[in-house]
Each structure stands twice: as C-alpha cells, then as structure tokens.
C-alpha cells in the first residue's frame, strides 16, 4: 500500500514541478532561495455589518509550506480562508496569489482549491464524479480525467469506492473524497478548513500523518485551519495564531511555543506561567510581563543554590495534581504569585508525588526560558 501511494504522489510532484513556474524552480536551484510568496495578504480587514471578523491582517505564506492558522472559535480563521479562496471580498486590503493581485477575482478564476469544513460533496454525484468535477469543468480530455481521478482516489486510499454515493460513506471517507476532489486539480495552494474536526482521535492521527505526507510529496502549499494546538504544532512548518480577527504571532511551531510573543499566545498554545508586576521585579529584576513554560521549571530542595544561568525562586508547594505521565506542582512563591511546574513521573509514582504537598522548595529555570511578552495592541 505505501509503495503504491508513493508512486502516485510522485507523479503529482513531477507534474506539479511544472506548476511552480520554471523560472522560480531554476532560481531556487541557482540561488538557493526558495522563499516564494504564494499567498500574500496586506492590510486585510473584513466586516460583516458591525462584526470585524478579520481586522488588519498581514500575512505571507511561502510556496510549498505547511502553514497553519490556529485560534479559538470565532477568531476569523475561516473568514481568512474564504478571502483567499475568493468567496468573500475584503472590506479593505489586498490578496495576492503568486504575486498577482486577485482581490477582486471570483473563486473560479483562482488557482486554489478548498477542502471544506463540512466536506460539501455533491450529493447527486458518485465519488468518482465528485472527484472528476473540477477536471470536467476545465474540459480535461476523458482519458486523462479518468486516470487522474483514479490516481487521486488511490492517494487517499479509496480505490474501491469510486461508484458509491457520498451518502453511503463514513465521515472519514467523505473527508478523503473531499481531499481527492481538491488534489486532483493540482492547485498551487490547498486550503483546508478544520478537515479533521469530525474524526475520532485515532483516525485523526492517521489522517494527520497522511496529509503531511501528501503535502510533502506533492509540494503543494497547504493552508490549514485548526483550533487544535497539538495538530498545529505537529504538522506545520509555520503557524499563525489568531485572536479576535488579528494575528498575534507567526512563526515555526518551536518559536510560537518557546517564545510566545503575547500573553494570549502563551496561554493559548500550551499552558504557561505568567510572571508580572512585583513578582517579576523581585525574581527577574525588572517590571514587565514574562512567560515561563511549566516543563522548563526544575523543583529543588529548599536552600539549594541555582546554577549560574538560572533564575531561582523559593516557595511552598500548595497543591499537587497527578496526571498519569506527569505531575503538576502548584507552588506559591515567597515573592508572591503562584507558578505551575511540570515533572515527568520517571522516578516517582502518584502516591509519592502527592506526599510533597506543603513542602518548601526552590524553583529554578534557565534565564533564557523566561520570555518577555509584549501586550497585544
């Protein structure tokens, strides 16, 4: 099975190489530059009546990257996707695809395809006809149409389902038909709106790695919307974190996680300790807002001196929360405030960990793991 999939996908890659504009690929080879902006949003806002769904977004998505848009419900992710696809026109700002201004171009004139949140399969067409739809519209010759549709169905492991009606498929199978229907057109950009949202955890993890593999081999730019931070961190080359119609931070998963730019990002992507005000002044020597990840904090016996590159803060364990693989220690600091420290349960079992309640400790973490936050404007 995997062998078959690889051949299919490499066919797509080869033909897709042509897609990336020969000038660009040769420039890549000669200069070693491969930062080609596929999607550029400049100052894009979208208002629905009084609601600012998208509020001044600037975004550059590079060719061939797996780009995720992460944010809570209602933060404007779908709207940004619809602006890129052309279903909505921005109230202000411009949208560019491969350097061309497409702000006023309707969806059918844009070289992007969408995998919809609810799949949006055509109920009156079979799986094969659904996949062939885009090719039919573009008048691709019959023989090529059939072979490309078969390839696409093979890529998503649905060879035997061509003649079924979408109504006779499971959620996961429908999702894969939607993916095949988009991939078969070999778009330069594929937009995916929470495509794994309706799947159970196991299928979700399977589809995550399959999507990632398809993206890598076909070298299509993926713009992937999700509100699941684990999904965004594990799959993406870069992540944009949305909040209330604005982008709080764009960066690699490691950047976003290790160096959150704002309190919102620190809180939304993983859990985080906020150190601010007097506490910050006493421990870190300056006022301001800082974030420290719980798993970066070491718990030491009272009176222990920290290493030279570390910050130390004495305190008392107020509570212990056992969570299977890890234990969370909630520590009240002498400097004021409460920090959470996370420890792998490598040497201790649950009962032993719970006995630490009330003990005096010193918390220590590397100075570089203290991240200064800027307040969102």
């Amino acid at each position: 099975m995997p062998g078959q999939m690889r051949t299919v996908a490499s066919t797509i890659t080869n033909e897709n190489g042509f897609y990336l504009v020969s000038g660009v690929s040769s420039a890549r080879r000669m200069l070693g530059i491969y930062v080609v902006m596929t999607v550029t949003l400049s100052g894009v806002s979208k208002k629905f009546g009084a609601v600012r769904a998208v509020d001044g977004v600037d975004l550059e998505i590079r060719s061939g990257e797996f780009f995720s848009m992460l944010g809570p419900s209602g933060s404007g992710k779908t709207t940004v996707l619809r602006l890129i696809a052309g279903f909505e026109e921005p109230t202000t700002g411009t949208v560019q695809l491969a350097g061309r201004d497409v702000t006023r171009l309707p969806p059918f004139d844009r070289d992007v395809n969408t995998v919809f949140q609810d799949y949006a399969l055509f109920p009156h067409l079979s799986v094969r006809q659904n996949v062939e739809y885009g090719l039919r519209v573009k008048r691709v010759a019959k023989a090529e149409r059939i072979s490309r549709a078969e390839q696409a169905l093979a890529t998503v492991h649905l060879e035997g389902f061509a003649n079924r009606s979408p109504a006779a498929l499971s959620g996961g199978q429908r999702q894969r038909v939607a993916l095949a229907r988009a991939l078969v057109n070999r778009p330069s950009v594929l937009l995916l709106d929470e495509p794994l949202g309706a799947l159970d955890l196991k299928l979700r993890l399977e589809m995550q790695s399959e999507l990632k593999q398809i993206q890598r081999e076909a070298r299509i730019t993926f713009v992937f919307v999700t509100h699941d931070q684990d999904e965004a961190l594990t799959m993406s080359d870069r992540v944009a974190v949305f909040n209330a119609g604005r982008i709080e931070q764009v960066g690699t998963p490691a950047e976003v996680y290790e160096r959150p730019a704002t309190p919102f990002v620190a809180g939304f992507v993983g859990t985080s300790n906020l150190v601010e005000g007097e506490t910050a002044a006493k421990i870190l020597g300056s006022h301001g807002s800082y974030s420290v990840r719980p798993e970066k904090i070491r718990i030491l016996p009272p009176g222990t001196a920290a290493r030279g590159d570390e910050v130390a803060a004495p305190g008392r364990i107020a509570d212990v929360v056992y969570a299977g693989a890890q234990t969370r220690f909630l520590v009240d600091l002498e400097a004021g405030g409460r920090l959470t420290a996370l420890r792998q349960n490598r040497d201790e079992d649950g009962d032993e960990a719970l006995r630490h309640r009330g003990a005096g400790v010193v918390l220590a973490w590397r100075r570089t793991h203290t991240v200064e936050l800027t307040q969102a404007n």
């Binding site: 279903f87 395809n113 949006a120 055509f122 009156h124 519209v137």
Partner: protein, 284 residues
C-alpha cells in the same frame, strides 16, 4: 415480574414500528380505499356499460364500445391531444416562471422581502377559483388591461394556457422554493472553487438538486390542468377540453363520460410512471 396487558401491548408496539403504523393508519386507509379508490373503480366499471340511444337509460351490458368510440372518433382524439398539449404548455410555462422566481425568493431576496414575496405568491390561493378565472376573462377581453398593455391573444387555447398557468403557479413555486432554500451554500461554493462559472454551477449542481421539486411541482400543474373544465369555458372561447366533453356527456351518456374520464387518468398514470425513477415521489 408482573406486567399489565396495556404495558405489554405498548412494548410490542414500540418494538415493532410496522405494527404501530398499521394500527395508526388502518382507519384512514380503509376510508381511502373505500371512498376514493372505490369511486374510481365504479368509474372504470361504468365505462364498460352502454346507454340506450332512445331512452337514455344506462344498460348494464358489458362491452368496450365506448373505448372503441374514443379511439375511432377524430373529435375525441383532437380534444385529448389538445388537452394534453395545454397541460404540457401550462407545466412548461409554470416551470419557466417558477424557477427564477423561487431562486430569487430563496437565495437572493433579504429575509424581509422574502416573507413578502412568499405571501404574494400564495395570496392567489386564498381567492376563489371562479373569481380568478373571471379576472383573467376581464384582462384578456378586447379593451382589457392586457389588450391595452401588450395586446390580447383573444379567447382560445393561448388564453387557457395563460389563465391555467396563473392558477397553478403557486403549486410549482412552493416546492421549488423549499428546494432552493435547502441547497447548502457550501456545495455552491465548492462548485465555484472547482472552477465552475455561475451558469455551469446552475446546470451541474443546482438544477440536478432541485429536479425532484421541479417534478413534484409539474405533477401538480400537469394533473390539475388535465382535469380542468371551468377555465376553458370562461376564457377558452369555443375551445373544448376533455373536461368539457365529460361534463356534457355526464347527464346524457354516463358510461361514455366515464370512458372519457379514463383518458386523463391514464395520461397522469403514464406521467407518474415516467417520473417515478427520478425520486420526485419522496418530495411530494
């Protein structure tokens, strides 16, 4: 454990939905079979009797003379074909009018004007049939509103088609409206996303999805037109439809009237069989 007979019955009904449905529907079904299909059966039966030419008494002699008459007499054939043509014409006119109307109401109009339009479309249903037919008689007559605006076709087949189209239009608009309103936006977006221009999306996605509703509406307009005999008397001039033939035969020659009534029934049955495969029946 003790269970009362009532509870046991309730349990049995719950486990067997078929039984439950039978119990629930048996009384109305009996009524339907007796009163409705029974009268149709009597109609069919009486078509095989004859009338004594001198006494006008029905003679209960089993024969097929009436049907032979219909097939051989060119007058009956002409009237039957004309009726069929009018019914098809009305259905086509209503389909052509209702498609854009229903589309506009369901997909373009704002909620406020949508409600107004729905009221406007259904309003004629509240007025009496004769009032509406005579209203059209007034409009179609020489010197009437239509004559003054665009010219009137006068009284005849076109006038019948126009008036019947008006009368049955709501029966076409309402199912289409429901179908358009149910179309998911995302399916239309998906079509545009895959490169289809609006007209292509209409042909390849919208039309197939509203087809069952179109057929459901056409069953109404087609069968209502086939059975009509009043409108044609009012605006048809000298035009005759099957309904008129039946109406004039009914007092003089009941068996013949019954035989003629079988023609529209057969036409409708034929039409229903033709559209059965399209899934329109689930939409009625």
């Amino acid at each position: 454990m003790h269970r009362s007979p009532v509870r046991r019955l309730a349990g049995a009904l719950h486990r067997r939905p078929g039984l439950r449905l039978t119990a629930l529907l048996s009384a109305p079904m009996a009524w339907l079979v007796l009163a409705y299909l029974g009268s149709l059966g009597v109609l069919l039966l009486s078509a095989f009797w004859t009338t004594n030419d001198f006494t006008s008494q029905v003679e209960y002699v089993w024969n097929t003379d009436n049907f032979a008459n219909i097939l051989s007499d060119p007058v009956y054939r002409t009237v039957a074909l004309r009726t069929l043509g009018i019914a098809v014409g009305v259905t086509v006119v209503d389909g052509a009018l209702a498609l854009p109307m229903a589309f506009y109401m369901a997909r373009v109009a704002r909620p406020r004007s949508r409600r107004l339009l729905l009221v406007a479309v259904t309003a004629p249903l509240w007025a009496g049939y004769l009032v509406k037919a005579y209203a059209w008689w007034v409009m179609l007559s020489h010197g009437g509103v239509l004559d003054w605006a665009v010219g009137t076709p006068g009284f005849g087949v076109p006038a019948v088609v126009i008036t019947l189209s008006y009368l049955w239009l709501p029966y076409m608009v309402l199912p289409l409206y429901a179908a358009f309103a149910q179309l998911p936006d995302s399916v239309l977006d998906a079509s545009a996303d895959l490169g289809a221009r609006p007209w292509r999306t209409f042909r390849s996605v919208v039309l197939p999805l509203v087809k069952p509703a179109l057929i459901a509406g056409s069953i109404f307009t087609f069968s209502l037109s086939l059975g009509d005999y009043l409108t044609v008397q009012i605006v048809g001039g000298t035009t005759q439809m099957l309904g008129n033939v039946i109406a004039s035969d009914v007092t003089l020659n009941l068996p013949m009237a019954a035989a003629v009534s079988c023609v529209p029934v057969l036409l409708i049955v034929g039409y229903l069989l033709a559209v059965r495969r399209t899934g329109a029946w689930e939409n009625l």
